[in-house]
Each structure stands twice: as C-alpha cells, then as structure tokens.
Amino acid sequence: MQEWAGVQAGDLGEEDRLNIAVLSGKGGTGKTTIATNLSVVTAANYIDCDVEEPNGFIFLNPAQIISQAVKVDYPVIDRKRCTLCGDCAKICQFNALVKTKKEVILFEKLCHSCRACRIACKHEAITFAKRTIGAIEEGQAGDLICRRGILQIGEPMAVPVIKALLENLPAGINLLDCAAGTSCNVVSSLHYADGAVLVTEPSAFGLHDLKMAVKLVRNFNLPFGVIVNKYNGDDRIQKFCQEENIPVLGTITYQRKAAEVYSAGKVLVELSVYKKEFCKIAEGMRGVFPWNWQ
C-alpha cells in the first residue's frame, strides 16, 4: 500500500472535503467514464475540469443549472498619459504588449493578468478592465452537485477557468475529472487535489503515458491508485504497478455493451456487471484515501 504523505484523515480543512483528481496521461482512456460512474457509486460530487471539452454532464444530466462568467483582467492604456517609453512592453514576460512608433498594442489573448505592466509604468497610464473567457456551470443530479468549467472557443488560456472552478468546492467528496495529458491544465487541477486516480488502458501508449502521470502525482506527493479500463487480459499495467508499488484500484472489463451504453449517454453502472466492478473500485479507494467513508 502507498505510503501516506499528504493529508491525514481529520485534518482535511475546515470544510471537510476530499478532492480526488481523475487523470490519465493518455487521452481516451476513460477519465470521464470512470469519474461519472464513480460519482454515482460513491455519492461524490462531479467536477469537470476538462474545460476545453467538458462532457461529463452528458452522462449525469444535472438539472437547474446556474451559470457564472469567468473574467480575467487586461491592461487598458490611457493614450493621453502614455509617453511611448515602452517599459510596459519590456517587462511583459508573455509578449502581450508591443510598442510601435504610434502606440502600445495589446494582444489580449497572450496576457496572463500579472499586472507587471502597471508596476513598470511610470506615468500611471495603465488601468485594468475585465473580459469574459469562459463560464462555470453548476447543477444537481439527484443529491450530487455537478459543476463544470467551459472555456470559450478561441481562448487559449484554460487555467483561469480551472482556478475559478475549483475555488470553494462543495463539502464531501469531489471527483475532479481532469484534462488529458500532463499539461498546465492538469497541474493546476492537481493543486486542489488531496489524492488522485490514474486511469489507463492496457496498451503501449497507455503504459507510456501512465508513467508520466505517475511522475506528476509523485511530484505533488499525493496518495494515488490506478484503474485499468478496457481490461482485456493484458496485464502490462498491473505488472508495472507491482514493480512500482502502486495500488491497482480495479479493472473495467472491455466489452461491446459498455460502448453501447456509453454511446446512448448513460452510465455503465446501469449494467450489473459494471456496477460490481465500480463498487470494487470504490472499495479500493477506501484503502488509499483517508476519509470518513460511509
């Protein structure tokens, strides 16, 4: 069993939350399938952090959705005060400001809202305004709270939406359905996690990218376990986990009927064979994540 390095049961913070990130490394291994089904069997809130393409709501069908805009700051330059000294453009680490002979031009999509330009400006020519880059939606599916971030099409920066999404999470267990890969989007989701579930598949790519995900969660010193989705008797993932002393929380069997249920927008736990497998995984999670499990 994994050594405990993170939070201990009982000191999870005043709100008593357990945030478990579901990530994978490789795309298409079934993060959303696992996260939505685990939400149902463990009565956990579902938080879709894959803000570039959130799709978990399709399976959980939350109602009474409330939406809130996510806004970021960008600099506005007062041309009457600006002397075209160019200090703001020089200080910008993201190349969002350029000084030409006539004016300072802003590329708003490159701006990270760091405000260094205002500090650098000696002429008090910079103020900030807000623009919308996405939204947070929240609804209820039975007793479960379902929340997701949505990044507007054409916006390059997902992190501000992810941060807004994960601030003030509800009490209880929250499953954070992360983006694929090990990019900034996953890293910023992990900042809010108390533990992680790594979803993979028994293929060369699945194993390769799992190794990257393992490295990432070990960097965060989080307790974690692995789920083998699309299990077909190939034990390469289990072998790796054994060598690395990583708990395997369970497997999801590869079957055509799983794809049929999925493509109808339903959760797999509607089928008794999958309900059993997910309950077994939930059981495995109790051993890995310290929590006052019911």
């Binding site: 030409t100 006539k102 920066m157 992190v159 989007n185």
Partner: protein, 131 residues
Amino acid sequence: MKIAVSAMGDDLNSMLDVRFGRCNYFVIYDSEDGLIKSIENSGQMAGGGAGVAAAQQILDEDVEAVITGNMGPNAFRLFQSSDIKVYRCESMKVKKAVQFFNEGKLQELNTAGPAHAGMGRGAGRGFRGGR
C-alpha cells in the same frame, strides 16, 4: 533602406528561415551603405507570443521591410500598423533573397498565415495553448 531577413544563421551566406517568429536570427541589411548586422531572435525560445516578441525586436531596429516565408496574424498586424512591408520568399541564401528584393522580384505578403505554424512536429495544427 533597412531590410530584415529571417535566417538560420547570422550572416548573408546563411539560409533564409521561412518561419518568422521561431527563426534563429534576423539579418539586417542596409541597402544604402551595404552594412549588415544580425540580431538573435528572442522570440525563438518564447513560450508563447514568439511572433510578437520577434516583431518587437524588428520594430526597435527601424527597418522598412521584412523578408520571410510565412508570418502569423499577430506579427502581421503589428507590421501593418507600423507601415512596414513584408515580403515573401522561399528558402535560399540571405544574400540571394536581398538581391531578389533589390531587383523587385519578391512579392509582398498581403495576408497572415496560420498561427503557431512554426512550432514544428505538426504542433501548429493541434496546438493547445495550455499555459
């Protein structure tokens, strides 16, 4: 008249680099006194906004024309608003590109190419700017 050419090396015998934002050097040629100068492209290693960073360097050098292969929308907008002309050229020695320019053989670039095209390994197509 000063002309900047995106290049793989730092002199007239280097090859022209068809990427604007991610080239290694800009070779700057002065057609009046024939002087050349080269500057290292600070946009080359930028996490994002490479074309913008490269364009800022060129704006600071007071050039009147830029010769390159392709240019993304951000840098293109900057040159347009600064009345700097951009000329398109295939990969060849910088010397030859300058000669073609002087002979009026290069065509002016009138539209920007796709963003992130110079990022290599096909990243321009599926680029997810998750920073």
